[in-house]
Symmetry: C2
Subunit: 136 residues, 2 copies
Amino acid sequence: MELREMSRLLYQIKLADQRVATSFERETGFSLTRYEMLMIVNDKGVCSQSEIQQEMKIDNAAITRHLKILEEKGHVQRERNVANNREVFVRLTETAARELQHCEQNHDQTNHLIAKVLSESEMQQLSALLQKLNTI
Amino acid sequence: MELREMSRLLYQIKLADQRVATSFERETGFSLTRYEMLMIVNDKGVCSQSEIQQEMKIDNAAITRHLKILEEKGHVQRERNVANNREVFVRLTETAARELQHCEQNHDQTNHLIAKVLSESEMQQLSALLQKLNTI
DNA sequence: TATCAATGATTGATGAGTCAAATATGAAAG
DNA sequence: CTTTCATATTTGACTCATCAATCATTGATA
């Protein structure tokens, strides 16, 4: 593949990301990144910021800043690990846990933005291709 | 598809975008967005900023700012359209045209970051899926 | 022809990410 | 013990996007 085609393909990824992220935010009220972050905390129960960082693969600075805002909004609680004061433990607040559940329940699977343009199997295809890309 | 899976998929797109864009920049010396912008100007010969905007589908403000920098770096020239002073005409400089050609020629197709993880047909598959996503 | 709406570009404020440097704590070794 | 190194988080400076507001120009119209 020529460089020109390559750049078109990569630029398509960028556009898709932008569109899809803003649609997600409009539909759920959470930014994609923060939703993902909250779900990770939810799955783990309690975890340190670097655990979140490892799962999300974004910069630590970004993690700190998101959590600061999520804390201000009352979505998470943070406290230093008494056994290791370097670490900060993060957990969901109950209101956030409830809110996320509602989000999940209200989510109309067939009517979701993406479901309108991609079938289930296409989504799986896409996921597999992206997974390969994410090994770069 | 459940909301949780959906958010994972969308987050994969975000990560892929980030990785791929930084790799592209490392390899070519141009940011993906600016490379795309320069190639569009190259294809069109001379064009107004709003033409670029329509092709790239990013905010006009971003266009203005990129072009300002590309002009400072000597990659493009800009001048008002005398027939319509609202418009700014953009064209590549000769040095930039040469530089882009070199870029294209030096591009090692088999060894490119993405070629290492995706076959040609997978790239086409990906492109088709993204095209659908970009109709949202 | 004076006004008003539409068009094209720009600017300012904000959000989300990066990297690099700073801080704070803990662990290990002389 | 105290120095030194590693780990975890935070902060600062920067880039690239967005939206909303502004400015300049053009064209239509009353």
